[in-house]
Symmetry: C2
Subunit: 225 residues, 2 copies
């Protein structure tokens, strides 16, 4: 039975047990990562570009400089596929065939729309706030000139899939008891000590946004909407 | 002037100072990461899928299960764009406009070729050895049945670009001295304590490959070729 957000394109037939269309899982993957790989068709060829993004409700906002070819290409062909992946462990089995990786992966299909000029400053702030929540309260608003130099696209989250691969190592019966080690090697992303930009900022206390980012990481934002 | 590996597609005009076509940098980015985002055209739409990979010389081998739609799609349209990105820091400026990210990014354009049956077992081992160097010496060879259940593609590294963004925070002159903190928040991937798969492996010493992976991480392999 179809679940919300699922379409024939998002069906993961071969690995259905890994597929989850749960909105909460999708939100969690989006809100705990920072880089999306955005695929488009450019001059007839596939092109994949890493981009920063922010989610607000069921809309993803992505951001690049106004001259970038991705942004220009999308104005001709708005179809995008956005992939957000977090590797969590190497799965080391007793055979290479059964070895693999545990990961969270979200895939979003959609049409990219340019955010209109009158909504751009708001969207720019929304992306910033998604990456470093609370930062907007600490800095000046973006100027009109800055907003004009930025293109922002938005993609609706209505055709999505989430795959959470977190299984244990599974070996062939004949490989057990052969004296070969097997197990998981966890891989985590962590935040290091912030490095002040200059002498001035070295004198300042860390702002709330940065403190919170460090304590909450990798959850960029803890919210339910 | 054109550099080796550069084509019009790989020229990064707007951010030329970040572009590097150095082979060493390309190798470093490929050999210190584990997941590639592979973009193809599937039924006329862009599709981006995360895949494991291994580099041998100037060839990238990528691997998925033989039934996956990516693999089947590539037999019809072999054009791929492979993007490998590592986020190294959030760049927190005194304005959102000047904020951004520091990262390593490699992009590879090419045509995916299916690795022929008689080379498959070798390529499977090569990928395994690239992800966890030395592991091949510790496990049994892949069986013919296992090789048959796997499709491996190869892409030549002859149209590539590498972008290393590692700049300091740069603020507008009018934003300096306003009491707003600015700096870098480093982000690193680290390896956790290995988790044995079961009672049997809990009794075994960690194998050399896993020990070396942990001590060398994030460099999967330290090699010059």
């Amino acid at each position: 039975m179809a679940q919300p957000g699922s379409t024939p394109r998002t069906e993961l037939k071969r690995i259905a047990h890994k597929a989850s269309h749960s909105q909460q899982e999708l939100y969690r993957v989006l809100d705990s990562n920072l880089v999306a790989h955005v695929g488009i068709i450019f001059d007839g060829y596939p092109l994949v570009i890493p981009m920063a993004y922010g989610r607000v409700g069921d809309t993803l906002y992505l951001h690049g400089s106004s001259g970038s070819r991705l942004m220009r290409a999308l104005s001709h062909n708005p179809a995008v596929c956005i992939s957000i992946t977090k590797l969590n462990a190497l799965k080391v089995a007793r055979s290479t065939f059964n070895s693999g990786m545990n990961y969270d992966a979200a895939v979003i299909f959609g049409e990219a729309k340019l955010v209109p000029d009158d909504k751009k400053a708001w969207a720019l702030d929304a992306i910033s706030d998604a990456i470093l929540p609370g930062r907007m309260d600490e800095v000046r608003p973006s100027s009109k000139k800055e907003a004009a130099a930025t293109l922002i696209i938005q993609v609706e989250l209505n055709e999505t899939s989430v795959k959470i691969s977190n299984g244990a190592v599974e070996d062939e019966p004949e490989d057990l008891g052969t004296g070969v080690w097997a197990g998981l090697i966890p891989i985590r992303t962590v935040v290091g000590e912030p490095i002040p930009a200059d002498d001035e900022t070295a004198q300042l206390e860390l702002p709330q946004s940065v403190k919170r980012f460090i304590s909450d990481y990798p959850d960029k934002r803890l919210r339910s909407s």
